[in-house]
């Protein structure tokens, strides 16, 4: 949102930031399941971790010993544990239009989800230019949205192979059938200047097409749970996995484009 961006500039002009101590309660841990099956060979993976208290460190060890299966058209594929908390198989490649069902058993708890892989939309081109609202450089992605059907997009940006943490998602509610040029702008308020795009950097964009439930997950995660939102009521994202876990399961198409910044 442009408007939000200008407001932010104003506030940061006058404002003053300080790291403070806030006394936050501890809470019981929950499982976090992140599962993906893509149209690329060998990319069906499920990661299982746990939530932690705010004051603890940011190491999230995997949860071992779960039983993980993916079902499609009556065929059940088991995902063996290939690392601590990582369950994956190279034998399952997703197909657009197909629906996949994930089932995870941990102890005596069961979690399940279904996701349908949409038809891929082509990422036509990407380019880098100085942002309209800033003197920093941003990537613009260009794609032609297919008319008449609902599409959901998720872009992941890598600068010199470092993933940008900002969530870039959009749907086509207002852009159906259009050639969309979307600037992936973000505000970097960290000390990590490696996130900013500079001449000579190599930039890679991963374009993901997912279904509406997964889009909703990312949209609500972005609006509610990044810790930085202006929302009056931050909240947990709407997960498409039943059983009371954090995380999501997505059958999605993936493609990439890279560019070297001039």
């Amino acid at each position: 949102m442009r408007f939000a961006c200008i407001c932010f500039i104003l506030i940061s002009l006058a404002g003053c930031q300080k790291v403070i101590n806030v006394n936050l309660n501890n809470t019981s841990t929950k499982y976090v399941i992140v599962g993906k099956i893509t149209d690329q060979p060998g990319e069906c993976q499920v990661y299982i971790t746990r939530t932690k208290n705010f004051s603890e460190d940011n190491q999230f060890p995997g949860v071992s010993g779960a039983t993980v299966t993916v079902e499609n058209n009556g065929i059940v594929t088991s995902l063996p544990e290939t690392g601590t908390g990582v369950y994956s198989t190279g034998s399952l490649t997703g197909k657009p239009g197909q629906t996949y069902a994930l089932t995870v058993h941990i102890g005596n708890e069961t979690f399940s989800s279904i996701s349908t892989m949409p038809q891929p939309v082509n990422l036509d081109s990407i380019y880098v230019k100085t942002g309209a609202l800033s003197n920093k450089k941003y990537v613009t992605v260009v794609y032609k949205d297919p008319p008449g059907i609902a599409n959901y997009y998720h872009f992941i940006q890598y600068v010199n192979d470092h993933m940008e943490p900002t969530i870039f998602v959009s749907d086509d509610e207002f852009t159906d059938g259009r050639t969309v040029k979307s600037e992936l702008n973000f505000s970097n308020d960290t000390n990590n200047s490696a996130r900013d795009i500079k001449s000579g950097d190599s930039v890679r964009i991963e374009m993901i097409c997912n279904d509406s439930a997964v889009y909703k997950y990312w949209y609500t995660l972005y609006n509610g749970a990044t810790g930085a939102s202006q929302s009056a009521s931050p909240s947990n994202p709407v997960s498409n996995i039943s059983g009371g876990v954090m995380g999501y399961f997505s059958a999605q198409t993936v493609q990439w484009k890279g560019i070297r910044v001039e």
Partner: protein, 879 residues
């Protein structure tokens, strides 16, 4: 703190105060020993002021004319002393509360000859009515007290002038002494012989600031002890003039937030919360027109330019039946009418804005005009920045108020008033947003006869915002608007000495355009029109104020409101998960649904003695337009949504109880009010709702109820060099909404347990006035994370309960000083200095959470605060 404890505290307090002695002393009861030998009268009066609790009010020339008085008195009553002192100088005196008003008598008139025995055998009644005005400007005076006392018995009664300065008193035949008083004006006295209906228009002049050092501020009109109206706060611009504010811009909406029960929504936010309600539950009226977004510049300023404003009245409870449409409060702002005697101009130059106000007669005594403008130049500072992002930004707002009034005949008066304001925020001419309100009001006052007063208003009000994007190849505009046409009729019937009746109706046609996108052919966005919504909001009411006895009075009334949703448009049935079950199409002229509500309004006042009263009130309010916002700050793009088949009218019921006491002969006022309020059909967003969707808005909403209760204390010093107040509010406000917090009660965001404000103004000398205010409140109830987790390599936060945490407590001290510059006959000017947040408290505007900046293996909380030490200076002039 539960309700029971609050009640107990209240009762304990009431019991303590009831035992205090509070009778105002009479001048015949005060005995003094004095010796004057060829002294000036001024010296003699000052001496008496020092020795007695009384202050004198007089014209300087009357007092200065008497240079030689002599008197020796040993323990004589003050009235006797004054009689002797003033003998032969044709100066009369009269005690008014703790003031003694001196008045030069014209040679020919002798008041004593008017005394005629009243006839008690023939109980004929006659009416005295008229309009109260300021003599110098011709402005009508709202809320002046007209007190009529029989000259032969102890009978007296009183009324106040209405919002057009009109008053009417019906009394038995007889001789009366009338006293007309209001803040800042010298009390006017008239003796009348009432044996037929009389029209008496009263001009008033500014209070004599004559006995220089012993400046007397009018003390006669505090809040009324007798009137059943409670939960009301009135302020004139004179009262708020010296209170320090941010950037030195006088602001009525900011100043009322220093009163108990009215809570600021925080730094950089013009919104406010009244008795636990939301920011959208305040009905904000400018000359009767609804102002949908009363804020400028992202909330730092209000839309009310102080130069154009006459007064402001805030109802926190017990709203009169002529007001309706919002749950929490009514903020009724009235513009000046314009000077019908002489041309004058005033204005000011401040750090971020300048103002100019011009007014004068169109035809002397019959008609006048007023034009008032204000513009900020904050963007000039932005241009100084090295950062191109900032220095290419544009950011300003302006306001324009205009008003004309015409006296069509002795019985008819026409007022035309308008407001236009706009905020502009843009970036290098590439993208921008501008928003603002427009209002226009035409009002016709008609006096049928001395007992019937009518006002008819036709009102237009509009709020819109426009977003433009001019980036090559991606050009589009978005427009959103809410527009009202409103017809109002209000009749006041002064039905006798015991009853005043208000009868009226109004009908508002609302058009809401939620959003219309116009995009060019190549833009990455489609042209789209969100369906427009039409509705008709109408109401009829009747209310009577009944002075049952000298001590007891009641107001009881009923407001009947109806809200019709009109076609054309599509309406939906939706299941609890937000899925659309079916769609109903309505054509133009179809009525989709009508909601009817009966809103009783009842209040009673019981005056225990001359300085104490108790009041109680019950009021029901409904609200048919709802602002759905999910942001911590108010945004110009927040959406107004009308009732639909699914969104029902919000309803609130409030009972309140109040205790009022004048202390120290009326120098101090104590007000204590408690309230309990319930709210039905409250609206909130679902977790993860999408505000900017073309889906029916109901799919994003949840419904529930609310409750709020509290006790408010206000101790005010009205008179003397030092004036000000201390306010304290103890309160609780909660919501219970299915789908949030497992359906349990939770604190509303604006729930603040304690809130304190101390405001003081001190007149140091003729040149300097000093002022200060200090506020403290419990931090808002907010949602903080209780844990964290990792998804695709990034850390996100885990939330448990809504609003279960608190922001840090907020406190702030502001200082102000006004220097009156040299006054010439026609020209006066002053310099105003202010220091906002004098001790630089870093109040939290927002607390966010993130992966550690220095140590990514940790997470940290970051506080953002907006202002510390904002000094400002402004220059104001008047000629």
């Amino acid at each position: 703190m539960n309700k029971k404890t609050i009640t107990t505290v209240f009762l304990a307090l009431a019991a303590t105060l009831l035992t205090l002695r509070a009778a105002a002393q009479d001048i015949s009861q005060v005995k003094l020993t004095v010796l004057f030998k060829h002294n000036s009268l001024k010296h003699a009066l000052r001496t008496i002021e020092v020795m007695s609790p009384f202050k004198f009010v007089a014209r300087a020339e009357d007092v200065d004319a008497v240079q030689d008085v002599s008197l020796e008195a040993d323990s004589q009553p003050l009235d006797k002393i004054l009689q002797q002192l003033l003998k032969g100088h044709n100066i009369q005196f009269k005690q008014v509360g703790k003031n003694i008003v001196l008045k030069k008598v014209e040679e020919k008139r002798t008041v004593s000859s008017i005394i005629v025995p009243a006839s008690y055998t023939a109980p004929e009644k006659y009416t005295i009515s008229g309009t109260i005005r300021a003599q110098k400007t011709g402005e009508t005076i709202i809320g002046a007290t007209i007190r009529a006392g029989s000259t032969v018995s102890s009978f007296f009664t009183a009324t106040v002038s209405n919002e057009y300065g009109f008053y009417s008193l019906t009394l038995p035949r007889g001789a009366y002494h009338l006293e007309i008083s209001t803040v800042g004006m010298a009390t006017v006295a008239h003796d009348v012989r009432l044996d037929s209906n009389i029209v008496l228009d009263v001009p008033m002049t500014a209070a004599a600031a004559d006995l220089q050092e012993v400046t007397v501020r009018a003390t006669t009109t505090g809040r009324s002890l007798k009137s059943p109206q409670m939960g009301v706060e009135r302020m004139t611009m004179a009262e708020i003039k010296n209170i320090p504010v941010i950037f030195g811009e006088k602001d009525v909406l900011k100043t009322i937030q220093l009163l108990p029960g009215i809570k600021s929504a925080g730094d950089g936010n013009a919104g406010f919360y009244v008795r636990g309600g939301g920011a959208d539950q305040n009905l904000i009226l400018l000359d009767e027109a609804t102002v949908y977004n009363p804020s400028h510049l992202l909330g730092f300023f209000s839309t009310f330019n102080s130069d154009a404003i006459k007064n402001i009245v805030v109802y926190k409870g017990g709203m009169p039946a002529q007001y309706g449409g919002r749950l929490s409060s009514v903020v009724d702002v009235k513009m000046n009418e314009g000077n019908n005697q002489d041309y004058s101009a005033s204005g000011g130059i401040g750090l971020i804005a300048s103002r100019l106000n011009v007014e004068g007669p169109i035809q002397k005594d019959r008609s006048s005009f007023l034009i008032s403008g204000r513009r900020t130049y904050a963007d000039l500072f932005l241009r100084l920045s090295n950062d191109t992002t900032i220095n290419r930004s544009r950011l300003y707002f302006y306001d324009l108020n205009a008003k004309m009034n015409f006296k069509l005949s002795g019985r008819d008066r026409l007022y035309l008033s308008g407001y236009f304001g706009r905020d502009v925020l843009s970036q290098d001419n590439l993208a921008g947003i501008n928003w603002g309100n427009t209002t226009a009001t035409a009002r016709w006052n008609h006096v049928f006869n001395s007992r019937w007063f009518s006002n008819t208003s036709l009102i237009y009000s509009n709020y819109d915002f426009r977003i433009t994007n001019k980036e090559a190849g991606n050009e589009f505009n978005i427009i959103s608007q809410i527009k009202d046409w409103n017809l109002k009729e209000d009749v006041q019937w002064y039905a006798g000495s015991m009853h005043t009746v208000n009868i009226g109706f109004n009908a508002i046609h609302h058009t809401i355009r939620p959003g219309e996108i116009t995009a060019n052919k190549d833009a990455g966005i489609n042209s789209l029109t969100f369906p427009r919504r039409y509705s008709l909001e109408s109401a009829a009411y009747i209310t009577d104020t009944w002075k049952a006895t000298g001590q007891l009075s009641f107001t009881y009334g009923l407001r009947f409101s109806a809200f019709s949703i009109l076609g054309k448009g599509d309406y939906y049935n939706i299941d609890p998960s937000g899925k659309i079950l079916d769609t109903m199409h309505y054509g133009s002229g179809d009525v989709v649904k009508t909601y009817f509500n009966l809103e009783p309004r009842v209040a009673a006042a019981w005056q225990l003695n001359g300085s104490t009263s108790l009041k109680a009130a019950y009021v029901r309010n409904t609200q048919n337009l709802h602002l759905v916002s999910n942001s911590t700050t108010s945004s110009p793009t927040d959406r107004w949504v009308a009732n639909t088949n699914i969104i029902r009218p919000e309803i609130s019921d409030q009972v309140s109880l109040g205790y009022y006491k004048d202390l120290a002969e009326g120098k101090w006022e104590l007000t204590v009010e408690t309230y309990y309020k319930t709210m039905q059909h409250q609206i909130d967003y679902k977790n993860g709702a999408n505000i900017y969707t073309n889906e029916p808005i109901e799919t994003q909403l949840l419904f529930g109820k609310g409750r709020a209760y509290g006790i408010e204390w206000l101790l005010k010093k009205r008179a003397g060099r030092f004036t000000g107040w201390l306010s304290y509010t103890l309160s609780k406000t909660e919501r219970k909404i299915d789908g949030i917090n497992d359906g349990q009660w939770y604190n509303a965001r604006q729930d603040r347990t304690h809130e304190v404000a101390i405001v003081g103004t001190y007149q140091l000398n003729k040149k300097w006035t000093l002022s200060a205010d200090w506020v403290f409140y419990t931090g808002d109830a907010v949602t903080f994370p209780s844990g964290k987790y990792i998804v695709d390599g990034n850390v996100y936060f885990l939330y448990t309960k809504r609003n279960a945490y608190r922001m840090p407590s907020y406190h702030r001290l502001d200082l102000g000083a006004t220097l009156q510059l040299k006054q010439r006959k026609k020209f006066s000017s002053e310099l105003n200095f202010s220091l906002y947040n004098a001790y630089g408290r870093q109040n939290a505007y927002q607390i966010t959470f993130r992966q550690g900046k220095d140590d990514p293996n940790k997470t940290e909380a970051v506080r953002l605060s907006l202002f510390s030490f904002i000094p400002s200076i402004s220059y104001n002039f008047k000629f």
